[in-house]
């Protein structure tokens, strides 16, 4: 996973500008046969091990993953999945990593979070930005599982506002060490880890002026002044270790600065791009598993003299779960392949996949519990634990609200720049999110008429047409709101949310169409998945249409008024008995 210079290619950023960059996502990617074989064998080894060793309800009850499980995983090599072979890892692509992670989630979410915090966000900063010396020093230990890694960004006062962290690292007079002070919160693997990627403010001189900018550091947990708090008692993923970290005059050698001084925020954001994708893959696994579990339960449960699976009200739920799972899977493995190219900007696609997959999982968990009725609510059945474990996905590694804002603003940045350049409404670029997409800006000039998907298989005619129409709708709405609000768009979250929701379902449709179209062109039958494709795409374009309509025609004023009413009252200001 060597860091290479990224180009500005981004399917979604182009789409915001009305450009359908079809060649970036067509044909739907496939793993090379060699890697597919390795992956199949790794999955087989994992399944054999996990069937014997992993007891999820026990992990939940004990709030602890047994040492032998982590040790066993380390011995099999699961702690080094994405670390290159030269440092003792397996060197898996992001796609293969995601698929393995999916399977780990299917056995236990706490275990998956522990692995993800180590192998994904805990190690990726080092993989992306580490010097050769740093890599040689730490990666072999992390690959073997001798050391466990953690990612430490969030602070008590800086959750979604990650740039607002207060931890501070000050270079000593001899310029040999940074003296690190401060604290972190909600750190997965906090007390069981050995190496932390820590983000702290540092003084950086720019144009002769001292500015406070975030830098990243590799901090060893055993250094004097480092300590971890006691594990949090959580609602779900109870077996994963989550603690606060504290830094009290920790001496961090200058050679442990990760990436350039003052570029820590970029290190964090790029690490999270990868991390989110892993999470989304885990959620896909959950969606598929829950759909199967709910269907099995429904087939076996008899009421009114027949299996409840026969009732259409149950079929409605199962069909939606299956269509969601199919779409989420299509999005995640399209995105992972974009990540594997190392030359494509996939930040939006990764955020979108995380939002869609985590919400699909949450709906699935909710519906599975509903299908199981009273039994579903009993701790004798697995549905309750799944609901608790699934809930965190809407919160961590960027809340879905922040990711929606990010999707909308980073997506609109390119068109915003374009409009500014041609002297329209914008005076300042939209600050604070993402990278500039020169690509989209360049291409948008060439678009005189509506861009469309080309040469799509006739089976997908309707879906492709809907996609084309609503891609056009996205672009015109983006332009409309940018003309209207200019840089003030960053304060209009009602609008951002709608734009983001349009983008999410358009990416879903694009991924599904690419997947099925490629299969048809490989002369394979798609008869089996067509109902899922139709169900998802139909629901998707209707949602996109609703969001588009509400951009101008909405009740945002009433929403603000309702909030003012509530915010300005100490108690709920209505009571039917005293009116």
């Amino acid at each position: 996973m060597a860091k290479k210079d990224k180009t500005d290619v981004s399917f979604m950023k182009s789409l915001f500008a009305g450009v359908i960059d079809q060649e970036t996502i067509f044909p739907y990617p496939k793993l090379p046969q060699d890697e597919q074989e390795n992956l199949d064998m790794i999955l087989q080894a994992w399944n054999e091990f996990a069937k014997d060793a992993v007891d999820s309800p026990q992990i939940d009850r004990d709030k602890k993953i047994p040492k032998e499980v982590l040790q066993g995983m380390a011995e099999l090599g699961f702690f080094g999945l994405s670390i290159p072979e030269q440092y003792g890892g397996a060197g898996l692509s992001e796609t293969a990593y995601c698929r393995v992670f999916e399977e780990v989630c299917n056995y236990d979410a706490s275990l998956a979070v522990t692995l993800g915090a180590h192998a994904s966000i805990g190690t990726n900063g080092l993989l992306l930005y580490g010097t050769e010396k740093q890599k040689q020093k730490y990666l072999p230990k992390l690959a073997s599982g001798e050391w466990i890694a953690a990612f430490a960004l969030t602070e008590p006062g800086a959750g979604s506002d990650a740039a607002g962290i207060q931890s501070k690292a000050v270079l000593n007079d001899k310029k040999t060490h940074f003296i690190l002070n401060g604290g972190k919160m909600w750190i997965s693997n906090g007390s069981i880890s050995d190496l932390w990627t820590v983000f702290a403010k540092t003084d950086v001189i720019e144009d002769g002026v001292i500015k406070e900018k975030i830098s990243a550091f590799l901090v060893e947990a055993k250094w004097p002044g480092c300590s971890a708090g006691k594990p949090e008692d959580k609602f779900g993923i109870r077996g994963s270790d989550t603690t606060a970290l504290n830094f009290d005059n920790v001496q961090v050698p200058v050679e442990n600065l990760l990436g350039p001084l003052g570029k820590g925020f970029k290190v964090a954001m790029e690490t999270l791009n990868v991390g989110r994708l892993g999470l989304a893959a885990g959620n896909v696994g959950g969606c598929k598993l829950l759909t199967q579990m709910a269907a099995d339960y429904a087939k076996n449960r008899k009421q009114f003299g027949q299996s409840i699976a026969e009732f259409e009200i149950i079929k409605d739920k199962i069909a939606n779960m299956a269509a969601d799972a199919y779409a989420a899977e299509s999005m995640v493995y399209l995105t992972s392949a974009l990540a594997d190219r190392h030359t494509v900007d996939y930040s939006l696609e990764s955020a979108i996949s995380k939002v869609f997959a985590s919400e699909a999982l949450w709906r699935a968990a909710n519906e599975a519990m509903q299908i199981a009725g009273g039994n579903g609510y009993s701790t004798e059945y697995p549905f309750g634990q799944i609901v608790r474990d699934a809930r965190i996905n809407l919160i961590f590694e960027g809340t879905n609200e922040i990711l929606r804002a990010f999707t909308a603003l980073a997506g609109m940045q390119g068109p915003g720049e374009y409009l500014k350049k041609i002297g329209k409404a914008l005076r300042d670029p939209i600050k604070g999110f993402g990278l500039l997409t020169e690509f989209a800006v360049q291409k948008v000039r060439d678009v005189v008429t509506k861009d469309t998907l080309k040469n799509i298989a006739p089976e997908l005619k309707e879906q492709a047409e809907r996609f084309n129409d609503f891609a056009d709708e996205l672009q015109s709405n983006v332009e409309k709101v940018l003309m209207k609000y200019g840089k003030e768009i960053i304060h209009h979250e009602f609008i951002q949310q709608r734009i983001a929701n349009m983008a999410i379902d358009l990416y879903g449709m694009a991924a599904v169409i690419s997947r099925v179209d490629s299969k048809i062109k490989d002369s394979k039958s798609v008869e089996q998945e067509m109902p899922l494709v139709q169900l998802y795409c139909d629901a998707a374009w209707r949602r996109v249409r609703r969001e588009a309509r509400q951009i101008e025609n909405n009740l945002d004023k009433q929403r603000r008024q309702a909030c003012d009413l509530i915010y300005n009252s100490k108690q709920i200001p209505f009571d039917v008995f005293h009116e």
Partner: protein, 258 residues
């Protein structure tokens, strides 16, 4: 120590089996295959012996293309190389013919020890290992539960009936057929899986083995069929006296236990 493990691929235990069109074998479409259970234990024993005494473990398999998957799994677990007798289109069920082919493929290797599972989970003759020993002029022991190599000899514990065991010492080279459960089978490690790619799989066609009577068979398959369920439950009806007299009659005349 140079060790061979004769390894067969068989349908997974919970496979749903259907008889094929000519009624002589199962329909292999949509069936998943795995390493034969006792062969898997044999592989593990071979790997443990190698780890203790150094040397090499060679997987020897006969079967169609699909067995490569099992070969790769064995290589991922630590076997050093493999010999694959590609038997696509060959359907002779006779273990004598199989043993001849296996011997022809391995006779020049001069193995110190040849392990195989006790029997295959599909045909279940339990003869191949013993026949190979006879044809290669090597000592053999069956139903092996424990191995201990010392000074060019091997001591084994054999499982007899009724909870009895037998200790036997054999000179090397020898052939052992392994009983399931004698050790704990390891999981393939990711490193092993990656390393397996670089290991040699030597593929040999049956026609290249020079066994002129490879098609000769002392066994003819006439028919295979799914076992018919023979147990059935009969509910006796009537008043109590009636039921008791019917029950006594059945116990006397049908079950013959009274």
């Amino acid at each position: 120590m140079k060790i061979a493990i004769l390894l067969k691929q068989v349908p997974v235990k919970d496979a749903t089996l259907k008889v094929n069109g000519d009624g002589l074998w199962i329909d292999e479409d949509n069936v998943t295959f795995e390493i034969n259970e006792s062969d898997h234990y044999g592989l593990e024993e071979a790997l443990r012996l190698k780890e203790k005494h150094d040397g090499e473990v060679v997987v020897v398999t006969m079967g169609p293309e699909r067995v490569k998957e099992s070969i790769k799994q064995a290589l991922a677990k630590g076997a050093d190389r493999a010999i694959h007798i590609n038997s696509s289109g060959y359907s002779n069920p006779d273990p004598i013919a199989h043993a001849k082919l296996l011997c022809a493929a391995i006779k020049d290797e001069n193995f110190d020890l040849i392990l195989s599972g006790l029997q295959s989970d599909d045909l279940g003759y339990g003869q191949t290992g013993v026949l190979v020993a006879e044809m290669l002029g090597m000592a053999h022991a069956t139903l092996v539960m424990e191995t201990d190599v010392q000074d060019g000899k091997i001591k084994v514990k054999r499982e007899l009936e009724g909870g009895w065991f037998q200790s036997v010492e054999l000179p090397l080279p020898a052939v052992l057929t392994i009983q399931s459960g004698l050790n704990q089978i390891r999981y393939a490690t990711i490193k092993g899986i990656m390393a397996a790619k670089r290991k040699e799989i030597k593929e040999i066609a049956i026609s290249d083995l020079g066994v002129s009577d490879a098609d000769a068979s002392g066994i003819q398959m006439h028919k295979i069929y799914l076992p018919v369920k023979t147990k059935q439950t009969v509910v006796l009806e009537g008043d109590t006296a009636d039921i008791v007299s019917k029950l006594v009659d059945k116990l006397k005349n049908e079950a013959k236990v009274l």
